[in-house]
């Protein structure tokens, strides 16, 4: 009796491991293929010989990326927007979340401000009024257009606000009795106690800024001001899109002309910053997400 359970359970185990391995491979293999192409010889890639390991190993594609000025200019624009935009979001999220975490007994207008935030979360003017607003403010083609509109990420504010609220009130009262003012309590009590939550929302804003491409496409007129993702969208995605008047054979020829190895290398170099923050992101996001989002 007991033994038969053990065998079915063992079969069950094998099935689980097999399914999970398959799912992991489906995620990983496309990336491995791109890595393999980026280190392979152009001709081997065009001939369809490269699968999941490099053929005729070469660094030519990476050398081409390294000497590509447009790529590096876009890379630097992205670094700049991550530092500026991430910094602004960090400061404004803490300020806003802290003020909104105060009880109404201490801050009577708290609910009115909260409604404004909720309102902006639900209603948006949409793409065209947003574009015209940036134009009217004379921010088109400036770094400010990329970092200011998202400087107060409402969702992150709500997550952090709920975390601040969950901290024991006694600590706050003790600090108040010791004569600590609101700014002092925020900086030396709430922020240090909430580091995991703050780390989570900050990492999310860094990743968000690094990955954003549409605002660059919408708001930047000159290509030399494109952030990296917008630049890549132009050279990889738009350039490789088939045109309707071409036959499948012509498209096949066209895509062989464009250099797949260099494009693969560009994709991977752009992925490096994400891969660097990913381990930290992973350590924090589970706690950070579940802590703030649902309140009993």
């Amino acid at each position: 009796m007991v033994k038969s359970f053990r065998t079915t359970d063992r079969v069950f185990d094998v099935i689980i491991v097999a399914v999970l391995t398959l799912l992991s491979l489906s995620t990983l293999l496309p990336l491995v293929h791109i890595v393999a192409e980026s280190f392979s010889d152009k001709a081997a890639v065009a001939g369809g010989l490269v699968t999941f390991y490099p053929r005729h190993f070469t660094l030519v594609a990476y050398r081409a990326v390294m000497s590509d000025h447009a790529f590096f200019r876009a890379f630097l624009v992205s670094v700049e927007r991550v530092l500026l935009g991430g910094g602004l979001q960090f400061a404004f999220t803490i300020l806003t979340a802290y003020a909104l975490s105060r009880p109404t007994s201490e801050f009577r207008s708290r609910n009115a401000y909260m409604w404004i935030l909720v309102f902006t979360m639900i209603f948006s003017g949409g793409m065209i009024p947003f574009y015209l607003t940036i134009r009217d403010l004379h921010l088109l083609d400036t770094m400010a257009a990329l970092v200011l509109p998202t400087a107060v990420p409402v969702f992150n504010v709500v997550v952090l606000m709920n975390f601040f609220k969950s901290l024991p009130k006694e600590l706050d009262e003790a600090a108040l009795i010791d004569g600590a003012g609101p700014w002092y309590r925020m900086v030396s009590l709430y922020v240090p106690l909430s580091l995991p939550s703050i780390a989570t929302v900050t990492l999310f804003s860094v990743v968000g800024h690094w990955n954003a491409f549409f605002d660059g496409m919408l708001l930047m007129n000159s290509p030399d001001k494109y952030p990296l993702q917008t630049y890549l969208n132009q050279i990889i995605v738009q350039a490789s899109q088939p045109q309707s008047h071409l036959t499948p054979d012509q498209i096949k020829q066209l895509s062989q002309l464009s250099d797949r190895t260099v494009n693969s290398a560009k994709i991977l170099v752009s992925l490096v910053p994400i891969l660097i923050v990913y381990p930290f992101l992973q350590r924090y996001f589970v706690t950070g997400m579940t802590l703030g989002s649902v309140k009993e």
Binding site: F92, Y98, F107, I128, F285
Partner: protein
């Protein structure tokens, strides 16, 4: 004393009010364009008012039904299949006792969530193109090449499939959290009564997360008009406009690329209005039946 403190909190909220006022609230006035014969030179305040004319025009457009259908069908398929894969994945992962294997699988499947659609688009175009690795593999087993991103037959399915591929792991996090909340004594009792691992999964784990499943599906109601703007913008092309053009891509193309500001704003406003109703229904249901509150 209390009023004195409040002044500090007002000061702390100045950046939020300025930023949201400029970039979230001020653009709402721009919605007037939907009711105007908009002249870019005269701006939103001085262009002639035309009432519902732009909306009448929208409803007469031959493509509008198709675009609405594309949006809703792609979005609903994405919701259903992502949740389905996430649930199965979470239930299976929950059975794994080997921590190293568990962590490795999680690390791998969460990763695509953090990669931008530009890079994913580059990868997917590479892999699915006519001379890509998928078609090479199909040819090796005798299937003629498929033009995944250039055929109206395949395109919506590819959008759903690649979205599920990107998101199923990350969507499972909530289910995994719910699974850890199930009382272990339930499993022990079932084991003593002779239930095998699969039966325990079916009769304890699955019922244990049913409430979470219903809550997430309710919240997903908000996304019925969000079919994935960035994804489709990075993967579509004129050959698949018929099956792949959604409300957001249409607003961008017709409104901004072709300078039909009134048309784009009117379509966007219609979408916002319906979305608002969906958000309201979804939060009402979620707070009433699952006691869910975000604030």
């Amino acid at each position: 004393m209390r009023n004195k403190l409040a002044i500090h909190y007002h000061v702390m909220l100045i950046p939020a009010i300025v930023i949201l006022g400029l970039f979230s609230i001020y653009p709402l006035f721009g919605l007037m364009i939907a009711f105007e014969d908009f002249k870019p030179g005269r701006g939103i305040w001085h262009s002639p008012f035309v009432g519902w004319e732009n909306f009448q025009y929208v409803f007469m457009l031959p493509d509008i039904k198709q675009i609405f259908y594309n949006t809703v069908s792609i979005a609903i398929m994405k919701i259903v299949f992502t949740q389905l894969f996430a649930i199965v994945f979470a239930l299976l992962l929950n059975e794994v006792k080997n921590l190293l294997f568990k962590k490795t699988v999680q690390t791998i499947v969460y990763l695509p969530h953090f990669i931008s659609w530009v890079l994913l688009g580059g990868i997917i175009i590479n892999v699915l193109s006519l001379d890509g690795i998928v078609n090479e593999a199909l040819q090796a087993i005798g299937i003629p090449p498929i033009f995944f991103l250039g055929s109206n037959h395949w395109f919506p399915g590819v959008m759903v499939g690649t979205h599920v591929w990107q998101e199923f792991g990350f969507s499972a996090i909530v289910y995994l959290a719910a699974l850890t909340g199930i009382n272990p004594s339930l499993y022990e009792a079932a084991a003593i009564d002779g239930a095998g691992r699969f039966k325990r999964l079916l009769h304890i784990s699955l019922p244990g997360i049913t409430a979470t499943i219903i809550l997430l599906l309710t919240l997903d109601l908000q996304n019925v008009l969000n079919a994935g703007f960035e994804q489709i913008l990075n993967l579509y092309n004129p050959m698949v406009y018929q099956s792949g053009d959604i409300i957001d891509t249409y607003v961008y193309r017709a409104g901004l690329r072709e300078f039909q500001y009134e048309l784009g704003t009117a379509v966007g406003l219609l979408k916002s209005a319906v979305s608002f109703v969906l958000i309201a229904i979804s939060y009402f249901l979620a707070s009433k039946f699952a006691n869910y509150r975000i604030f």
